[in-house]
């Protein structure tokens, strides 16, 4: 049953605006500050079936000090792993500011009974995850079961306790911007702390128009209710240039309140090294070889 009254999205205009903002020219000091923010906003992610404790430890070392020997490069925001690897990450990140995020609710498909999803969440939280990335039930949402999806998100939120909840809408499966906006409203209504675009397992993952739409949603939600909800762009963002374009959208749509790691995130893995390469170039004017940066 669809109960929310959601205004329309003009797809052409949304994409036009996103493309227009992508023409901003970010140079010198602005680029330096921007790259630094991007690093601070990264959820360094590994979500492979073949993940090992060793790989997660390596990722955590990279997360704490992304560029060995350059203390100006801050730690990333979080490390994002599957629930069973949360204890490894927690141990590896002791004493750092880096948060441990865990996907849960039977990521990435979310096809499981609610009770199992909640158990998944409780397990991750108990193991020390401070952030939970849940997936919504797209099948239920697409056939109109918005109230049910809303109830599930609210239940997961409760199971999170103190942990912060990012709600993955998997926008690549929703088909239209109108549906994406409806999904945003459902998640906002249900108490999400973050709207997140994608699992990274579906193409397209994050796109700039979709994130622009989400930014408009959280901005208007804040103006209406006073509650600030973050946005996480996840999947498909591989270059510093692209990441800076996302930051421009944040800057010009939501402003200062969202230009912080607790309000905007990038879910990415290969992005970090490209940002570091750009960072080093800004310092000495030369590009390094890709192999000069560790592949974690």
């Amino acid at each position: 049953m669809r109960t929310l009254d959601v205004p329309p999205v003009d797809a052409v205009a949304l994409e036009t605006r996103a493309a227009e903002l992508a023409t901003r020219s970010i140079k010198k000091d602005a680029k330096r500050a921007g790259l630094r923010m991007v690093v601070e906003m990264i959820d360094l992610t590994t979500l492979e079936g073949q993940d090992t404790p060793g790989k997660v430890r390596a990722l955590c070392r990279k997360a704490r000090a992304p560029l060995a020997g350059d203390p100006e490069v801050p730690p990333v925001a979080a490390v994002c792993v599957y629930p069973d690897l949360v204890p490894v990450a927690v141990e590896a990140l002791v004493g750092s500011t880096v948060q441990v995020a865990s996907v849960a609710t039977h990521f990435p498909a979310g096809r499981a009974p609610l009770q199992q999803k909640l158990d998944d969440v409780r397990y991750a939280v108990a193991a020390g995850a401070t952030e939970i990335d849940m997936v919504i039930d797209r099948g239920e949402f697409l056939r109109g079961g918005e109230a049910l999806v809303l109830g599930e998100i609210a239940a997961v939120k409760e199971a999170c306790g103190e942990a912060h909840l990012k709600v993955i809408l998997e926008t690549g499966e929703l088909g239209t911007y109108d549906r994406i906006r409806r999904a945003c409203r459902v998640a906002l209504e249900a108490g999400a702390d973050f709207l997140k675009t994608s699992t990274g397992k579906v193409s397209p993952a994050s796109t700039r128009p979709v994130v622009l739409l989400m930014l408009e949603e959280v901005r208007d939600h804040y103006l209406a209710t006073g509650r600030i909800v973050g946005v996480k762009a996840a999947g498909g963002i591989r270059t510093a240039k692209d990441a800076l374009r996302y930051l421009v959208m944040v800057n010009e749509t939501c402003g200062d309140l969202w230009l912080r790691p607790d309000r905007f995130r990038f879910g990415a893995s290969s992005l970090l090294n490209d940002v570091l390469m750009q960072w080093v170039r800004l310092g000495d004017g030369r590009y390094q070889r890709p192999e000069d940066f560790s592949q974690d």
Binding site: P7, P8, V9, D10, V12, A13, L14, T16, R17, T23, R24, S25, I26, K27, K28, D29, A30, K31, A33, G34, M37, Q99, T130, E131, H164, D193, E216, R219, Y222, L223, T225, G226, R227, I228, V229, G230, L247, N251, E252, C254, G255, D256, L257, L259, R260, D262
Partner: protein
Amino acid sequence: MQNDGRSNAESAGSERPTLSFGAAWQYAPAPEASDWVEIPDRRGLFLDGAFVAPASDQWFESINPATEAVLGHVARADASDVDRAVQAARRAQPAWAALPAEHRARYLFRIARLLQERARELAILESLDGGKPIRESRDVDLPLCAAHFFHHAGWADKLELAFPGACPEPVGVVGQVIPWNFPLLMLAWKLAPALACGNTVVLKPAETTSLTALRFAELLQQAELPPGVVNFVTGEGPTGEALVTHPGIDKVAFTGSTAVGKAIQARLAGSGKDLTLELGGKAAHIVFEDAAIDSAVEGVVRGIFFNQGHVCCAGSRLLVQESIHDAFLQKLVRRMERIRVGDPLDKNTDMGAINSRAQLQRIEALVAAGTSDGARVHQSGCELPGKGFWFRPTLVSGVSQADRIVREEVFGPVLAVTTFRTPDEAVQKANDTPYGLSAGIWTDKGSRILWMASRMRAGVVWNNTFNRFDPGAPFGGFKESGFGREGGRQGLAAYVRRPGGLVQG
């Protein structure tokens, strides 16, 4: 993560949540390098394929409106210079018209290619001379210029198809006078169809923005266009008057103010010359409550603040449905504050300098005198440069249909806001103007778009977009916005005679 929503600045001193911008991240200056674009101090008139000094040897300054620095000196053509230009065009016309049509097309294609090749140089010069942001001259003006020549190159050998059975032939020598708001683009709109149809041209650019036309003349030399086919005479009002009244001219095409357009029409009465006029406008944005609001806000911003509002089809009136008036205005005002006003050559500038001191004074006077009691003027709080001609993005609400700011063309970044309750009232108010160039309808409902569009007395009706141009789409006005169309097949009609019969153009 702290997500209590009540941290730091946003709650300090006010109950209502507010946003703040620009403190966390500032864009560094990103100026387009311009020192490589050399501007000769004196270029002269472009007559018969060569640059020549004016007979009187009189020159006037062309300045950069963003800095008031002198860029160079432009020749003041008098009646004898205009006469030389018209003679040159007359001499060149028979051979130009006699060229196989595909050869004329080849010249137009070559011009279009050269426009693309030299786009960066021309965009920089356009921004230096006219004050428009490089983002627009680079992304809008120059691509559209090239598109216009490409489009009309395609028409050159298809005139028989455009006017079947009408035996289209050239009008002859065309005198064209263009405005300062889109110097190169208006030049393209005028030249491309005229040349495609076999006419030769004497064109006068606006006195504040002649530099790109003269640079374009170099490009014509590069394209080896036969001498005399295109001639440029620079100067002020008297030069234009000498051109349009010259007996050797077969047709006049004018884009500019309604007052000058009326004067030209009066002068041409009984002369036998063809005339097309593209004049002023006072277009309405009509925003219905079911519109995609953020997109409508973007569209309204684009509609009025594009090119500092120096656009004849600018959406300078906003009619917003009563039920969403307050919410819409809040968003619009917030968005206005984000418009980056300043150095036209900075790649992040959204709005540049007002084209001239005279235009700035006209805008200031109208905003000061154009509103009645109860009107509220809201201006962006942006910082303005110390030198040059600048006007803040401005919104005037609480106005009535009789206010001058609602009736007269400001030709600047000033939006007048009124409300409506029913679609009928929207139609009535939108059409309640002496002008009829364009209109914008913002609604998610397809049937309403069609219902509204068929009732707008305007040459262009945009739906859920604004200020979009395409060489294939005819552009022109109703009522005091002029007559004749530019672009597409309809635009060609103004540049052909049709002895075989008057086929609808």
